[in-house]
């Protein structure tokens, strides 16, 4: 399994936004790999560039976005250089994506069945007569009760959890090889959260689909992911198998992140806040290590370009003063 080429392979990927108030260096030198059947967690504070990365991979970035460098290969396709037509063909069929806020992520004035049919019509050879059946089947696969009736429902008639199931049905309708799940459970209550995560995991197992799971919730990632990639301010700072990461985080940021994650038994007081804010990514003279200002371990050496991450599945860290594996936990 480790020898197979990764399904998705991102190397040295950079991206910036040209806005009215300056250029935002949103991503820089991002490395990432997702293998077939694997669930990778992409973790970081909000604003760290997780979603930006996933949108960029699908080619649905904001108009202001410019890819500044690096590669992003999906199977044989170079995503950064693919034509819009190629990308459209890949999106939804090979790489699917689900989002947070399932209610607003569905077209409010179109029946959910029709929205699934739109995707099927676009990506499959299903004949018009079959579309309805296949949409209902897709709904049934995500355990929606009474899918025939739900087929004709509008999003506002469904609960949030139900909407997320519809989103998943829509995303998985064409059996994609990779699912990008962008905070899929945010805004849902805890029971529904668990059900949704189980559903995704179950579907992934059933179809051998790879999953890139984007979340700010380290605990949730720990529960469901094979490997975890930690992002900070547009950089990947650490990547490791889940167990290894939790056993011994090596980047100071990861360590703080883990400390800030509430465990079931901890109290509010025990939660440590991460000091400082993300740096202003509009600055032209961004430090080599974007965590530097918030880091207690920073030294002059940190001004040198960051060390490259070791390729997966190694425990890789982009830091000149990594924590000792033993010192943490």
């Amino acid at each position: 399994m480790n020898d197979a080429p990764p399904l998705l392979s991102v190397e040295g990927f950079g991206l910036e936004f040209r806005t009215r108030s300056g250029t935002v260096h949103a991503l820089d030198g991002v490395d990432l790999a997702v293998r077939k059947g694997e669930t990778v967690g992409l973790v970081g504070e909000s604003g760290s560039g997780k979603s930006v990365l996933s949108f960029a991979l699908l080619g649905i970035s904001d108009r202001a976005a410019r890819v500044t460098g690096g590669r992003a290969a999906f199977g044989g396709l170079e995503l950064t250089r693919a034509s819009e037509a190629d990308l459209e063909a890949v999106r939804g069929r090979e790489i699917a994506m689900i989002f947070q806020n399932p209610r607003t992520a569905l077209n409010p004035i179109r029946r959910v069945g029709a929205q699934i049919e739109d995707v099927l019509r676009r990506h499959t050879t299903a004949r018009a007569a079959e579309l309805r059946e296949r949409a209902i089947a897709a709904l049934r696969e995500v355990n929606i009760p009474d899918p025939e009736r739900r087929h004709a429902a509008y999003p506002f008639e469904l609960s949030g959890g139900m909407c997320q199931r519809v989103m998943i049905a829509l995303a998985l309708a064409c059996r994609p090889a990779l699912l990008i799940a962008d905070e899929p459970t945010t805004g849902l209550d805890v029971t529904t959260q668990a059900a949704i995560m189980d559903l995704i995991a179950a579907r992934a197992r059933a179809t051998g689909m790879a999953t890139l799971f984007i979340t700010h919730d380290l605990a949730l990632a720990a529960e469901h992911c094979d490997r975890i990639v930690v992002m900070h301010a547009g950089h990947v700072v650490e990547a490791a198998p889940t167990a290894a990461l939790f056993a011994g985080p090596r980047h100071p940021y990861t360590a703080q992140l883990i400390r800030a994650t509430p465990a079931a038994e901890s109290t509010i007081d025990a939660l440590a806040a991460i000091p400082g804010n993300l740096p202003d990514l509009r600055r032209a003279d961004l430090p080599a290590c974007r965590f530097r200002a918030r880091c207690a371990r920073a030294s002059a050496r940190c001004d040198a370009p960051l060390p490259r991450l070791a390729p997966p599945p190694a425990h890789a860290v982009a830091c000149w003063h990594p924590l000792d594996e033993a010192r943490c936990a």
């Binding site: 999106r91 994506m97 992520a105 569905l106 004035i109 990506h123 829509l170």
Partner: protein
């Protein structure tokens, strides 16, 4: 659906009451003395007094209002003194002309503004966006009376491509048999293609004059609404699902963007109905707008009251139609009622 209609109608009653009262007060506050006006060229003071009595103008305001309400309840809108006809008859005979003109203006504005707004929203900041802004802003900056005169001068007088700005139909033609009293529709119903074309030629300039003026609110609203929708979550979902661009643009974005546009449409329509008075005057268009202006300058109360009341009713009906249209587009409105 029927429930919505009924609820809406009931909800509009206080509005109508407000309109009746305000209209009555406003017209009574007008400084003109209709009695003096209608007494004729060489009337004595006694003759004027006589007419004042005949018109009920010597009673107090409350009594006058009471009389007015009683007549309204009977469907009697009074008689226009300046044209000598029952107001209701005249409104009914003139309204189709105004509606026809307004509809044509609206169709013109919609056909131009919506695609322009969509195109601008797709590429904000591009040349087409600037063009859209320029065209619509120029349109709304045109004084309608000036545009009308200019268009009539250029297209009728100089170029000779438009027919004379003389009402709804050249006197050479006989109007089509009245069904809806809108000439365009009636001539089609009667299968009279030539008359239809003549009517169309006649209505083109005034409709464009009025339409230009409301391009801006429509195009702006389309653009803004389209921009909002295009950056919304479900469009991202649609794009992430790989739907083809036209599907995303029209099936997903445009239909949603239409909702606020439809609301604007209602406002624009009532705005058109009101502001077409000047255009009707320039093009000798026999609608209710010119009727109102003529009555106002003649201090002829009954037609003004009737006109405003008709406008109020029309406004309520219009909003009802807009609501229903809204319901057709947006299931949330339809199903929650």
């Amino acid at each position: 659906m029927i429930r919505i209609v009924a609820l809406r109608l009931v909800g509009a009653l206080p509005n109508l009451a407000g309109v009746v009262v305000v209209t009555f007060l406003l017209t009574r506050a007008l400084p003109g003395d209709p009695a003096a006006f209608f007494a004729g060229a060489a009337a004595s003071a006694e003759a004027v007094e006589q007419i004042r009595e005949k018109l009920g103008l010597n009673r107090n305001l409350v009594e006058q209002f009471g009389l007015y309400l009683r007549d309204l309840a009977r469907g009697d809108f009074g008689q226009s003194l300046s044209t000598g006809q029952p107001v209701l008859t005249e409104l009914v005979s003139r309204l189709p002309a105004s509606l026809e003109l307004t509809f044509c203006a609206l169709v013109f504005a919609t056909v131009v503004a919506l695609p322009l707004g969509v195109a601008a929203a797709r590429r904000p900041g591009s040349w087409i966006d600037h063009l859209c802004r320029l065209v619509t802003t120029a349109g709304v900056s045109l004084p309608t009376f000036f545009t009308g005169l200019l268009l009539a001068y250029v297209f009728y007088f100089l170029l000779g491509v438009a027919p004379s700005p003389l009402g709804r139909l050249d006197p050479v033609f006989t109007p089509p048999p009245p069904v809806t009293r809108m000439y365009l529709i009636d001539s089609l119903l009667a299968g009279e293609g030539t008359v239809f074309r003549a009517c169309l030629a006649q209505i083109a300039l005034p409709a464009v004059t009025m339409g230009l003026f409301v391009l801006a609110p429509l195009a702006r609203m389309t653009r803004a609404s389209m921009l909002g929708v295009l950056s919304s979550d479900f469009i991202r979902t649609a794009r992430a699902a790989g739907l083809a661009s036209p599907t995303v643009l029209y099936t997903y974005a445009f239909r949603n963007a239409l909702l606020p546009v439809v609301t604007t449409l209602g406002m624009v329509f009532s705005f058109l109905l009101g502001s077409n008075v000047l255009v009707e005057k320039v093009f000798a268009w026999p609608g209710i707008g010119s009727y109102a202006i003529e009555s106002l300058t003649a201090s002829d109360y009954a037609p003004i009251q009737g006109f405003v009341l008709a406008m109020g009713v029309l406004y309520v009906l219009l909003n009802l139609a807009i609501d229903l249209l809204y319901g057709l587009i947006d299931p949330r409105v339809r199903l929650e009622a």
